[in-house]
């Protein structure tokens, strides 16, 4: 589904495609999430790596791109005990390295120490990245270069946006979503999380000041952003501006 002339959603996946760059953009993989949970006493079996690999392969069947851009949080925090997560991240980046000509990774708030692995697989690591008309970032900080940038498009992750849909009998369904719309003179795209486990923000329920990303809290009026829900079962669900979806 096309969001703008230059950016489209790879239906029904949490991934966008930018033709100009021949790039797939994803965010928030949170590999190793289960390990951290287990460390805290919540024993979620490890399933995410497999799931994310499956999704990635399905995406590739639809879009054969030369570049992949990961907008941050490739991994969840590393736990102290398990080497396993390190292996997961390494395997994932290894797969990307083999499959794509170029692997560009934005640093997220969970990505300290990532450099060792990215280097090994030929991936490039950035705090922020500007390419042609596009500005990529994770979104946990609002870097000074963002407001100065002359790019027409800003693409970020971090928020893990989802929409809560209600009906009159009291049903509630949560659907992961893209957010897109104007941010001053630019166009902003917020990606849903690639991770199937890490929770996110129900952006039509929580007040603006409770949002995670300062970019969304301070630099844009989130209520004016539109949403596109995605679900494997149905595909894309185009929704109007968030203010219309407030409960």
């Amino acid at each position: 589904m096309k969001l703008w002339e230059k950016i489209e959603i790879i239906t029904p996946y949490p991934a966008a495609y930018i033709r100009e760059l021949d790039a797939i953009v994803i965010a928030d993989l949170h590999l190793g999430y289960e390990g951290i949970m287990a460390e805290q006493g919540i024993f979620v079996p490890k399933v995410q790596f497999e799931q994310e690999m499956r999704t990635l392969k399905s995406i590739l069947e639809q879009k054969d791109a030369s570049t992949i851009i990961v907008c941050g949080d490739v991994k969840h925090e590393f736990s102290e005990t398990s080497y396993h997560e390190f292996v997961e991240v390494s395997d994932f980046l290894g797969f990307l390295g083999e499959r794509f000509d170029e692997v560009l990774v934005l640093k997220g708030n969970h990505d300290n120490y990532l450099i060792r692995i990215t280097r090994k697989h030929g991936a490039k690591l950035f705090d922020e990245l500007e390419m042609d008309d596009f500005y990529f970032l994770h979104g946990h900080r609002a870097p000074p270069s963002l407001s100065k940038s002359r790019s027409g498009y800003v693409v970020m992750g971090h928020e893990h946006p989802s929409i809560a849909l209600f009906d009159e009998v009291g049903t509630k369904e949560k659907v992961d979503c893209f957010l897109y719309g104007r941010m001053k003179d630019k166009r902003l795209l917020v990606l849903p999380a690639f991770s199937t486990l890490a929770g996110g923000s129900e952006v039509n329920l929580i007040p603006r000041e409770e949002l995670l990303s300062p970019v969304l809290r301070e630099m844009t009026n989130i209520d004016e952003l539109k949403a596109v829900g995605i679900s494997v079962e149905v595909g894309c669900l185009p929704l109007p501006e968030l203010w219309k979806l407030k409960v």
Partner: protein, 884 residues
């Protein structure tokens, strides 16, 4: 019939008390002398127990409070202990374990036993017999490390403890050897344990203890009110080698006379506004407290307790203040509770308001009246609470139940009549709970290496696990060993190792012991939600988790005397706006705990409806009916009047009273125009949990839509979206022919109930830890993570033991599928006939159900369809709102 006989095999009801001379003759002379110096006579339970216990028999005794129950259990034991001392055979070690569900009770018992322990030695010394000291100590989670050290060095002969602490002690590496001398285990307040997983937990602990001791010990059970006693006895003693152990049963619970009455605060509960009703409640309460010496008031919730105290103090500050009344409930600090208990005992307090915490046998001194506000929901509980008054065993137990709504009124009227006729609710113990078992298997593995077969033998000795299947046990072992994860992850995920070829298991992981200590227990974490004003994040107060679950954005509720509109919740915090003073609460303040009305009592209420219905039909006038009520039921005049008015309104509104032979189905709408189908199925909540969800599922399939169900003890309602019309006859036909178990199992997965219960089960089985390596996992995080977990684990194995346990808990404990099936059979056989009526607004009998019922949504099976419909509905709504 044979099954019944089998179950009762080895049980013996002792119907005749032993002569006092025989009972006292069982005691060592100095023990007997102590008793005779202090008491003029034996109380009824003592006339049985001295002899039976001294004969070494397992005994279960039920008797009301204030009947000398404690001594009835301990006298023979003390005598034997001193007897051992006399011949120099009292060794270092624990001889008797006393276990009660309440820490406060433990401290009481210790205090009460210290006196005889001291005085008996003195008497013996006067007689020239030098006895060694018999030591007693309390062991609960509150005991200091120093005290624990002391107990390790010099173990008490009598150990006073809680179910959880026994489970800890069984794994205390050093202390456990002191337990090998155990000869007696006394389980007090058995009625509190015999209905739930906490009792299941204790049953396993006792069998593990039996294994540790290496030989049988004697079991003594004490309780106030229990039915059937035979089942409770089975629970107490368990099985050995597939055969039930023997037990003597003593029932003296009924000699205490009861004086009971249901009171209505106003003459007409139906037509009085909530505000006036409330004001009248406090006047009634004040009248009762003022005319008695010491009053104990029970409310159904902690917030209810706070509210009563607040209002009394506010309305009559001179009469009710810090010096004269106090609150007592589980959320208050221990110091406050102890202070209130002390002043209650001193007699300096006029009244104490409590939720459940004073229900059990802590010594509370002289209370001459118990007031219960709202329905206590079960005869047993009513008897238990009211039995707290009239402390000495010849006193009358006096209880008044003040009702606040019409269904409570009907329910309590019937309930107190049942109480006077001694018809108690049956206890129903859960069986084969895999989550509780998981804890104990970890505990067992910590002590040594086990063969599967050998472990299974020990577990099956416990009554709740007598027919545990080998298959379930093995699947639990595989879970605990982390076989659902990759080999290398088992170090983290596994709590035990399990060798499937060798059929053995044992301990694994350096944190496992700590996990066991910090996370064991059967009670799920209770949640308090903090409420903030959204505007400025100002803290307002706390509400209960169950209450939050009922709130939808826009709902108006009362907190601390003010009204608020609910906006949204995030984790443990809930945000609200102030509502205008003239707003009408959409959620009642007096929402009671979710205790279900029992099936039997529900049927009694049906019979009551039949009787009143017949009289109305025969044209009996008000005076006749009110007189009849006053003569036959323990109600006051206002209550009788309100009862009459309630029934008359329903009668005139629908042209009859729903009878026990018909299932009245009312098609109606509320003020917002929402359409309901109300099923007046008065079978108690547990049956309605099953019926309502099954009906909801069938309706959802018929209409291709989500359906909300609202349920209570008195019936259930379905709320349909939009203009959907339902073919009721078809629905009832499908419902009565359905395979209830299968239908429910398939669909429960998509309910909120399932999510919440899975969290409880996951926490009990150490899949989600509440406390780990210094992390305290908040309940909201437990909940969130549990949902993730449920999805993930289900993907790996739909029969995962913890999922299986969640289904079992819902289908067997929360719901009563068996009785629901009985109701469906009645429908098929025509014993129960559906009758459909249409009303413009809900009939009086349907009011409370729609307003106060517990809501859940039955989701359409097909998620794709569900999402699309939801999406379309949302888009349509937006279109309407924004004029697009």
């Amino acid at each position: 019939m044979h099954a019944q006989l089998d179950e009762w095999l080895g049980l013996e009801r002792v119907e005749k008390p032993f002569p006092d001379e025989v009972s006292l003759g069982c005691l060592r002379p100095y023990v007997r002398e102590w008793f005779e110096r202090n008491f003029r006579e034996l109380t009824p339970p003592q006339q049985y127990s001295f002899k039976l216990i001294s004969e070494g028999k397992n005994v279960i005794i039920t008797a009301p409070t204030g009947s000398g129950k404690t001594l009835s259990a301990f006298m023979s034991i003390l005598s034997d202990l001193f007897g051992l001392g006399e011949i120099g055979e009292l060794a270092e070690g624990v001889y008797c374990i006393y276990v009660s569900p309440l820490k406060a009770l433990d401290n009481d018992i210790k205090r009460n036993l210290l006196v005889p322990l001291k005085e008996i030695r003195e008497i013996a010394r006067e007689r020239g017999v030098e006895l060694p000291e018999v030591r007693i100590a309390v062991r609960t989670g509150d005991v200091s490390p120093h005290e624990k050290q002391k107990q390790l060095k010099s173990p008490p002969h009598i150990l006073v403890t809680t179910p959880e602490s026994i489970a800890v002690l069984l794994n205390a590496p050093k202390f456990v050897r002191h337990l090998r001398t155990v000869r007696w285990v006394v389980v007090d307040e058995i009625h509190e344990l015999a209905n739930d997983k906490r009792g299941v937990h204790l049953a396993l602990s006792l069998e593990r203890l039996r294994e540790e001791v290496g030989t049988e010990f004697q079991r003594v059970g004490l309780g106030a009110t229990l039915h059937p006693l035979e089942r409770a006895a089975r629970y107490l003693v368990g099985y050995d080698g597939g055969r039930p152990r023997s037990c003597s049963i003593v029932d003296v619970s009924w000699y205490k006379p009861f004086d009971l009455q249901v009171m209505s605060p106003v003459r007409n509960l139906v037509q009085t506004s909530a505000a006036r009703c409330n004001a009248a409640l406090y006047r009634t309460l004040d009248g009762l407290i003022s005319s008695h010496r010491t009053t104990l008031v029970f409310t159904n919730t902690r917030s209810g307790t706070e509210r009563v105290v607040y209002h009394l103090k506010e309305t009559w500050p001179h009469k009710y203040n810090e010096h004269t009344i106090g609150a007592h409930h589980g959320s208050l600090s221990r110091d406050i509770r102890l202070d209130v208990e002390k002043r209650l005992k001193d007699g300096t307090l006029k009244a104490v308001i409590s939720s459940t915490s004073l229900e059990l046998g802590i010594d509370i001194g002289h209370v001459d009246l118990v007031v219960q506000i709202g329905s206590p929901k079960s005869v047993t509980r009513a008897v238990q609470r009211i039995g707290r008054s009239g402390h000495r065993f010849r006193d009358v137990a006096k209880g008044r139940v003040i009702v606040l709504d019409r269904d409570d009124l009907v329910e309590c009227t019937v309930m107190l009549r049942s109480a006077m006729r001694r018809q108690l609710d049956e206890i129903d113990m859960p069986s084969n709970c895999l989550d509780i078992l998981a804890q104990h298997v970890v505990g067992m593995a910590l002590t040594r290496r086990w063969r599967v077969e050998e472990a299974l033998k020990v577990i099956r000795r416990a009554y709740p696990y007598r027919d545990l299947s080998e298959e379930d046990f093995r699947s639990l072992l595989r879970y605990l060993a982390g076989h659902y994860t990759s080999l290398e992850d088992r170090a983290v995920y596994g709590k035990i190792w399990y060798d499937e070829r060798e059929e053995t298991f044992g301990r694994r992981g350096r944190y496992t012991r700590i996990i066991y200590y910090l996370n064991l227990g059967a009670i799920p974490d209770e949640v308090k939600i903090d409420v903030y004003r959204h505007r400025d994040r100002h803290y307002i107060g706390g509400i209960e988790e169950g209450f939050l679950e009922r709130l939808r954005p826009g709902d108006i509720f009362v907190l601390g005397g003010k009204m608020y509109r609910f906006r949204f919740a995030r984790g443990m915090r809930c945000f609200v706006d102030e509502a205008p003073a003239d707003a009408v609460p959409t959620i009642p303040a007096w929402f009671s705990e979710m205790l279900p009305l029992s099936f039997d009592l529900a049927l009694e209420v049906q019979k009551f409806r039949d009787r009143v219905g017949r009289m109305l039909k025969r044209g009996k006038n008000k005076r006749k009916i009110v007189e009849w009520l006053l003569k036959n039921y323990p109600v006051d005049e206002k209550a009788a009047n309100s009862l009459y008015e309630y029934f008359r309104e329903q009668y005139e509104f629908t042209g009859g009273i729903p009878s026990s032979r018909e299932l009245l189905i009312e098609h109606t709408s509320d003020l917002k125009g929402r359409k309901y189908y109300v099923f007046h199925s008065l079978f108690g909540r547990r049956v309605n949990e099953a019926l309502s969800r099954a009906a909801g599922i069938i309706a959802s399939d018929m209409l291709g839509a989500n359906v909300a169900v609202i349920l209570s003890d008195n019936g259930f309602a379905m709320l349909l979206p939009g203009r959907k019309e339902l073919n009721v006859a078809e629905l009832v036909g499908k419902l009565s022919d359905c395979d209830l178990n299968r239908l429910l199992r398939k669909n429960i997965r998509r309910t909120e109930l399932m999510k919440r219960r899975f969290r409880h089960c996951a926490a009990r089985s150490f899949l989600v830890l509440r406390n780990y390596k210094g992390y305290k996992i908040s309940v909201s995080k437990q909940q969130l993570s549990s949902q993730t977990l449920l999805n993930v684990v289900e993907g790996i194995d739909p029969d995962f033991p913890i999922i299986k346990e969640t289904y079992r808990e819902i289908l067997r404990d929360t719901m009563d599928v068996e009785r629901a099936e009985l109701v469906l059979r009645w429908l098929r056989e025509g014993r129960l006939r559906p009758k459909v009526i249409s009303t413009e607004v809900p009939s009086p009998f349907a009011h409370n159900l729609i307003l106060l019922g517990d809501a859940d949504v039955i989701l359409m099976e097909d998620r794709k369809k569900r999402l699309l419909q939801l999406y379309e509905a949302v888009m349509k709504r937006i279109g309407k709102r924004t004029g697009e």
